[in-house]
């Protein structure tokens, strides 16, 4: 017979069960915490310091822009014993305005006063050594650009709140904020090429006392912009302009009547439509009348020129005749297909809408043929020229690294593109672009010397914008180099002349001779042989 448990025994069993359950609970929690849920306690996480924006690096991984840790300094005025002395000390240490600080400290409505923003660790140490009560540091970040001026116009800057306000900082703002905790944003820029272009453009700007200078290096297949320079520039790390500093990117935000480099497009259209042949002879003469207007040459020309030599010697009269064969409608449609009659949209926020005539008649067709009467941004022109030499397919510039062939719709036939490459090479070997002919590489190109419009209409005959478009290696172009000088002046070496063949052609040649080996462009043995003989 089973004896019933006493009340004490039942209480003990109940107690034991409760104790066992409690131990089981604690054990389960221990297992859960130690094995399945590693504690995230501990406050700070390991990793990079908190950043507002991601790094920007060039195509080879070299750092272009980074947020550095700084701090904003706030003060609680009611904790300060001697407000005047505190304001004086803080103004001396941080560079803040003494009167602003004193006014803030004496204003009882605000419990906090912003003393200074973006203090570096050194400055923070100096403030700490003051031993003032009621100071608080708010962690912040300051954008720093290691290459300073060389990339200033292209990268742009951020405002004190870390928002992009110009250049790629603005154009890629969303991406830079999204990517702040992961990989840096890799640009198409090659810092080596950027530096070479910047230093050579600055050297030419100084040599020819030009107001402005600029340049672009672009991959004609991927559309990647390897370098873009606009001078004068500024120091993005200090943001205080000195001398003729400027934050205006002339290659993207300005539009120019580019002059004779536009003849490349007129010839591409003529070759595409077979309205002329390279060996067709044109009568040049001393002037070409269209209605009440007369077109003149910039330099003396022979009485007749073949079409090839019209381009090589940059004859306005010959090009006008060729352009007029295409007619205004076809010319406008062709330029539109190259993207020159609309705004260019890429990652760069700065752009300039093109200016072209509302009435596009015969005279306009003739002048646009040699690059007057239409003003476009240089980057848009480079994009159009790349289309002409890359096999005839439309290419949109990009500032992000990519490995894919981004060529789009076929604008001109591949045969026309090949024919244009031959003509551009001829310009460099036998025409106005001789000074861009460099050892080891076959360069094709075209000069452009455009008179600038005057303030009261008309053109100023001795105030020029000179440019040079170069493609290399010309038999199968991979890169385009476009350089521009705004209002260059002749020197003793150039005989007082400031034409593109004497100013921008040698500049392009120097740039190519320095960047081609870096970019791994193979040398042309025949060219080397010619140099050796």
């Amino acid at each position: 017979m089973i004896e019933r448990a006493t009340i004490y025994q039942r209480r003990m069993v109940i107690g034991a069960v409760i104790a066992a359950a409690a131990f089981a609970l604690v054990g389960a929690r221990l297992i859960d915490v130690t094995l399945f849920k590693p504690s995230t306690a501990g406050g700070d996480q390991i990793g990079r310091p908190a950043m507002a924006r991601a790094d920007m690096v060039d195509r080879n991984g070299e750092l272009l822009a980074r947020d550095l840790p700084v701090a904003d300094l706030y003060a609680r005025p009611h904790t300060l014993d001697d407000k005047v002395e505190a304001a004086r000390e803080l103004a001396r240490t941080t560079g803040a305005d003494f009167s602003r600080l004193l006014e803030g400290f004496n204003n009882t409505r605000h419990p906090y006063v912003l003393v200074a923003r973006q203090l570096t660790p050194d400055a923070q140490d100096r403030v700490m050594h003051l031993g003032l009560p009621g100071l608080e540091f708010e962690p912040s970040a300051k954008r720093y650009y290691p290459d300073g001026r060389a990339t200033a116009q292209l990268l742009g800057v951020t405002d004190p709140d870390g928002k992009g306000v110009s250049g790629l900082e603005q154009g890629l703002d969303a991406r830079l904020r999204e990517a702040a905790t992961v990989a840096p944003v890799q640009l198409s820029i090659d810092m080596r090429v950027q530096y070479i272009l910047a230093s050579e453009a600055e050297a030419s700007r100084q040599m020819f006392h030009a107001k402005k200078a600029g340049g672009i290096v672009m991959d004609v297949r991927t559309g990647e912009v390897l370098a873009m320079v606009s001078l004068p520039d500024f120091d993005p790390n200090f943001r205080q302009f000195t001398g003729d500093d400027s934050d205006h990117n002339i290659m993207a935000a300005d539009r120019y009547e580019l002059g004779s480099v536009f003849k490349v497009l007129s010839f591409a259209l003529a070759m595409e439509d077979h309205t002329t042949r390279p060996d067709e002879v044109f009568s040049i003469g001393n002037g070409y009348r269209i209605g009440k207007f007369t077109i003149h040459e910039a330099e003396h020309m022979p009485a007749t020129l073949t079409a090839r030599d019209v381009l090589a010697h940059s004859s306005n009269i010959g090009t006008a005749q060729i352009a007029m064969r295409s007619g205004p409608v076809r010319q406008a449609a062709f330029l539109a297909s190259l993207g020159l009659l609309g705004s260019l949209h890429c990652e760069l926020p700065e752009f300039a809408r093109p200016l072209y005539p509302t009435h596009w008649g015969t005279i306009e067709t003739a002048t646009i043929g040699f690059g007057h009467g239409i003003a476009v941004e240089p980057l848009a022109y480079v994009s159009a020229a790349a289309t002409v030499v890359n096999g005839g397919r439309r290419i949109i510039p990009t500032f992000l690294k990519t490995d894919v062939d981004r060529r789009g719709a076929q604008v001109i036939k591949p045969e026309t593109s090949a024919e244009m490459r031959e003509l551009l090479r001829y310009v460099v070997t036998n025409g106005t672009g001789r000074k861009a002919d460099i050892s080891g590489y076959d360069v094709g190109g075209k000069t452009g010397s455009a008179e600038k419009p005057g303030p009261h209409g008309g053109y100023q005959s001795h105030v020029l914008v000179t440019s040079f478009l170069a493609a290399f290696p010309i038999e199968a172009p991979r890169y385009i180099v476009f350089v521009l000088l705004d209002e260059p002046h002749g020197t003793k070496e150039t005989g007082g002349l400031a034409l593109a063949g004497l100013t921008t052609a040698p500049l392009a040649g120097r740039v190519i001779s320095r960047i081609a080996p870096l970019l791994g462009v193979p040398q042309k043995p025949v060219t080397v042989a010619r140099e050796n003989t």
């Binding site: 025994q9 003990m12 034991a16 104790a19 131990f23 604690v26 504690s39 306690a41 501990g42 406050g43 700070d44 996480q45 390991i46 990793g47 990079r48 310091p49 070299e62 750092l63 980074r66 550095l68 840790p69 720093y144 290691p146 290459d147 300073g148 060389a150 810092m191 080596r192 530096y195 070479i196 230093s199 050579e200 600055e202 050297a203 100084q206 460099i438 050892s439 080891g440 590489y441 001779s513 320095r514 081609a516 080996p517 193979p522 040398q523 043995p525 025949v526 080397v528 042989a529 140099e531 050796n532």
Partner: protein, 122 residues
């Protein structure tokens, strides 16, 4: 028997309380140390970040070219003086380059007056 069991249970509870307190205290200390180490790691990361940026500044192409020109006397090398393995001549009698091109590299007429921009006062 029951009394011994009770005593053991009470002792076990007491020991458990002590052990848990010990673990809890160790955890608190470890948490504090972890926070300190994390802060230190973040400071180190920040320092590394600053140093990397500083390195990019001092190792930038402008500075390297200036140093190379001023301290080492190096000037711009003409592109034609650069070569590739494909164009190097073979050893021995057969002096044709590896790709059978009739050209031997090394240009005696390479312009020698190339001066980098750094030398021109930039």
């Amino acid at each position: 028997m029951v009394r011994i069991l009770n005593t053991l249970c009470v002792a076990l509870v007491g020991l458990s309380i002590l052990a848990l307190y010990h673990v809890s205290e160790q955890t608190r200390v470890a948490k504090f140390e972890l926070a300190g180490i994390n802060r230190q790691i973040n400071r180190e990361h920040a320092t590394i970040s600053v140093l990397q940026t500083e390195w990019e500044r001092v190792a930038g192409p402008a500075r390297i070219q200036e140093l190379a020109a001023n301290r080492l006397g190096l000037t711009g090398t003409p592109a034609v003086q650069m070569s590739s393995f494909e164009t190097l001549p073979r050893r021995g009698d057969d002096s044709a380059p590896l790709n059978n091109s009739p050209i031997a590299q090394a240009n005696v007429q390479a312009p020698a007056n190339l001066v980098p921009a750094a030398r021109r006062g930039l």
